[in-house]
């Protein structure tokens, strides 16, 4: 053992090194994330309209207003509907695809690329195509459905079907990502476990419920958290495809925020909305982590 490890100089360096390493990222965050966030918190206590020179301090009025605003509460409902729809479908189908791909067969790479394409494409580019596909009069979907003799629908143009249609596109865009992550999780399950189970006579379903699923829980948990955070923040999709309509049926919180901030310029109020959104996501994530402590199995 060298003695230099115990010198005071060494200990000092050891002490400061972590902070020095954190400094670059921390600095960027402090200036471009933390400061703006707190500044907007500050703004949320004011009756602050975008260009106004006069700003009234109104305390928590903005918060009071939005918590009693039927429009805001509606957007919360809409957002939860979106999240509740896209998580099971996106993750469920992602898992199915991963299970299918988790075999010794050719073409796995090709499929992975294929399924991942929607993930890497920008909403701005692909959202418009989907809007078109959903077009009731001449869109691809209805044309295909009619050819097959199936009933057609109004998709993005009617409040009843707009959200499900949106969820479908959201899921389409995220399945590849979920599949890739699940596939990795699956491939981490030791083959010996399966072989042992087969010797014991376990069938496919039993193997899944007793081995695969439990060992997949870390992955599932990770995906769940990431998916919740991301789907809560969905904006571009709504913006390009429905603009919150029809009849506010797809007006998620972030879109409501965008409207208040950039269409009506109620910056103070919009900042309050943003903060509530952050709180909601934060609480949900904490809840998930608590839940995970009980249910997630690590090797």
């Amino acid at each position: 053992m060298s003695s230099h490890v115990n010198t005071r100089k060494y200990r000092l360096i050891e002490f400061f090194t972590p902070y020095a390493m954190l400094l670059p990222s921390a600095l960027v965050f402090a200036v471009f994330v933390i400061f703006p966030v707190f500044f907007s918190l500050y703004m949320s206590f004011f009756n602050w309209r975008a260009v106004s020179s006069t700003r009234e301090f109104i305390g928590i009025s903005n918060y009071a207003q939005l918590l009693t605003s039927s429009e805001f509460l509606h957007s919360v409902k809409v957002t939860f509907a979106y999240v509740a729809g896209i998580i099971p479908i996106g993750m469920g189908l992602g898992l199915v695809v991963a299970l299918l791909l988790n075999r010794k067969m050719r073409g796995v790479t090709m499929y992975r690329v294929l399924y991942y394409l929607p993930v890497v494409t920008a909403w701005a580019a692909i959202g418009v195509v989907w809007r078109w596909i959903y077009q009731p009069s001449y869109g691809l979907l209805n044309v295909v459905l009619e050819r097959l003799g199936l009933p057609i629908g109004y998709w993005l143009s009617e409040p009843e079907t707009a959200m499900p249609s949106l969820i479908a596109v959201g899921a389409w865009k995220v399945i590849g990502y979920n599949a890739v992550i699940f596939l990795a999780g699956l491939q981490n399950v030791p083959q010996e476990l399966y072989e042992a189970a087969e010797i014991d006579g376990a069938g496919g379903l039993r193997k899944f419920t007793r081995i695969t699923w439990p060992l997949l829980t870390p992955t599932t948990f990770f995906l769940l958290i990431v998916s919740v955070i991301n789907s809560f923040q969905n904006f571009s999709g709504v913006y390009v495809m429905t603009k919150g309509g029809p009849m506010e049926s797809t007006r998620v919180i972030v879109y409501y925020l965008y409207q208040q901030a950039f269409v009506f310029f109620n910056m103070g109020y919009a900042s309050a909305v943003a903060w509530i959104l952050v709180l909601v996501v934060f609480v949900l994530t904490l809840l998930q982590m608590k839940f995970a402590d009980n249910k997630v199995h690590y090797q």
Partner: protein, 426 residues
Amino acid sequence: MRLKSLKILGLLLVIVFSVSAFAQAKVEIEFWHRYSGYRDELLAELVKNFNESQSDIVVKASYQGNYETMLPKVLAAIAGGAAPHVVVIDQFFVGELAEPGALVPLEDLISDELREDMYEPFWQTAAYEDTVYSLPWAMSNVILYYNKDIFDAAGMEYPNPDWTWDDLQNAAIALTQDTNGDGRTDIWGFDFPFGPNIGGPENTVWLLQCLIWQAGGQWLTDNNTRAGFNTPETATAVQFLVDLIHKHNAATAHPDKEGEAFNRGIVAMEFNSSSLVGYRDQSLPFRVGTTILPAGPVKRAANVGGANLALIDTGTPEEQAAAWEFVQYLTGTHAGVIWAKENGYIPTRFSTIETESYQEFLEANPNARAYVEQLPYLTFRPTIPRYSEVSAQAYRFLERALSGRMTVEEALAEAEAAVNKVLSGQ
């Protein structure tokens, strides 16, 4: 001797340099607009002409996205202190920017001659609380478009300036047809495009207001502090449209995209902005006609739309003066004619309309005459600061009424409550 000539040389050099420096001290101003494609090129031409026609001012023009994306940019720019000198803003945003003092008031800069040379309702769209803050520039109004081929095929007479609502309704009903017997309507008599992706709530309200005014209704009242549309007259107007859609099944009821139903040739008549005339004349595969809007039960009316040029209160006095120069050029007769002809925007000045060049244009483009003929009937939207929010709130309920999910009376009552909330400062 030598020293003296050196000094003179030195002095001369100094003079030459300072004169050239002075000459190079051009004022640079920034101009943000929201026109893309051929309009962008046209503007670039006009700006180049201006820059070359004089040596004191250089204008830098840039396209900033359509009106939706342009506005957040302008606001962010003003808030951040990096605003352009001249900006194109939609009329209903004038109040938004004027109220907090972001715009330069133009009252004193406008000569009487200029004032009289423009149509008075145009000035109304440019003013906030009786002070003019912008120059009317790219103006349009609502006209009736019709598909000549569809009318011909049915052997019906084209819409004409004497039409009333009844004529419109009868024609729409007669022209709605299921041409191939599959149980679905293939040709619609009338089209009222509404829906979030078609210019947004403001566009729908803008079109609807024509009907409202024609029925003798109004939008805001009490000096623009309260909603004034919860009246039987307004109900008549909205009901007319609702009936056309749901009772007579003569108009498309489902939101279509960007007015495309008409462009696709499946609609006989449509209310829409006169700014589309140029494009529709040239690019559609069927023959297009235009005329003024039919008269309502009480009167004729057509809404003014479009964008004005505003000066933002930023930069040095020289820059502001330069900006005013530039703006006058753009709205002047020469540039005005070019802009109007290539564009489908109404020339804002009488002197522009009366030029030979423009009169020839009208001769050659009959479809452009409608908006000129409608000038006596123009109406305009209130220029209050939270206008777009007012429209959005009203639209929420109008959308439901037009979709047949709410009765007109209910919709108007709810809309009134919502709009009053906005107007009272919430």
